[in-house]
Assembly symmetry: C2
DNA sequence: CTATAATGATACGAAGTAGTGTCATTTTTT
DNA sequence: AAAAAATGACACTACTTCGTATCATTATAG
């Protein structure tokens, strides 16, 4: 609608509320991409500005700080992943498969790696990340396991945690180290079923 | 033996072979400590020199490069951990418990985190790290599981990998994110037994 | 219409850092 | 005894980077 949209020239002037949000996302998109590719410390604000097609000045008006760009990027991913999680209602196998796929995606692995790398610098963010990431998924699995009518083990509390650990497992570690590509849907499903077999036993025909 | 050893003054002059090794270790000790505490990028050579009680010049004669200091530190840990691994002969429960303890130690977790953080910059090192770290442990577990006379599952190949993943599990992830202290020996043992129970079944009285 | 917020462009300051050069000094090596 | 190797001390260069300042320009808000 703005009369310069078709041209390559970028307009300057007071932006509308919607444009501000778009621009914010634009900056964070570039930030995630660069941080994941090169790391937080190795990414300069100038690079980020160039990648986001924005000037450095703009970044500092949106985020006061380089660290704040980082926390904002992680926070955005965090809340979006949480929202995506809580609005689901499938079978256990399906949920497990989807979890494997999502958690091994480039974005999730990249941010996970980033969070591990920068955890000493951002301890509070690391806490939030873990609480609404892994912990949230474990709680979901736990409720699903209860609903599935699991045998009343003495160590029933740790089963969801073990299941989550199995769903990630070594493939996820290899991904964190950059040693493997993301799994295909078929591989993810196979992996999920193997993990479930180990935790809930042989019979789970809900696939 | 050197005639200035008692005084605080450090000598200068051509060092003996043994002294060179000691000094090299001294530098790498400081490097590991600093890298783990502050990260690779956030540690300057000057800091490292001060911490190792050595001048910057010396660091550059031993290692030509800052990156080479990093690879040397990881390599030293890598081979020492591998040597420590291959010279053992215990019961499955004992090995699992020791694995839990070792892999959750400050040094192991710190280097693991460091390796994840810098993997994009040092891909070949990451490969070696994984091959002689996790992969080595998995092979060890696999041979022990075979010796233990495991049921001839169709998915017998993945059991050692699953066991290893369970031995680390969420506690290890929390450690990577700086959210938990190292486990006590009792906790490690309990964790190891729970993991074994899940993988090899109920009966494992070898504790 | 008027005031205002935001941006592009660009330069700049301050600080930190990797890596090198120099040189005297001391100890090992031969 | 003489040569060589290595170190401490320290300055120094070249470069990068964060964050700020300036200022004209333009579109939105009221």
């Amino acid at each position: 609608m703005t009369h310069l949209e078709a041209t390559g020239r970028r307009k300057r002037g007071r932006p509308t509320q919607e444009e501000r949000e778009r621009r914010r996302d634009q900056i964070l998109d570039a930030a995630v991409s660069l941080f994941v590719a090169k790391g937080f410390g190795q990414t300069s604000i100038d690079e980020l500005a160039a990648a986001a097609r924005v000037t450095k000045r703009t970044i500092y008006t949106y985020f006061g700080d380089k660290a704040e760009v980082f926390t904002a990027a992680v926070e955005r991913f965090r809340v979006s992943a949480l929202a995506q999680l809580t609005a689901e209602d499938e079978s256990l196998t399906d949920v497990a498969t989807r979890l494997v796929l999502v958690l091994h995606s480039d974005e999730a692995v990249g941010l996970h790696r980033l969070m591990i790398a920068e955890a000493p610098q951002f301890p509070r963010l690391a806490e939030r990340f873990y609480a609404s990431g892994p912990l949230g998924y474990i709680e979901l699995l736990s409720s699903l396991l209860d609903a599935e009518g699991a045998p009343p083990d003495a160590a029933a509390d740790g089963r969801a945690e073990a299941l989550f650990g199995l769903l990630l497992g070594e493939p996820h570690r290899r991904r964190l180290l950059g040693l493997a590509p993301a799994p295909t849907p078929a591989e993810a499903r196979r992996h999920a079923r193997a993990a479930l077999r180990l935790v809930v036993g042989e019979g789970d025909g809900a696939g």
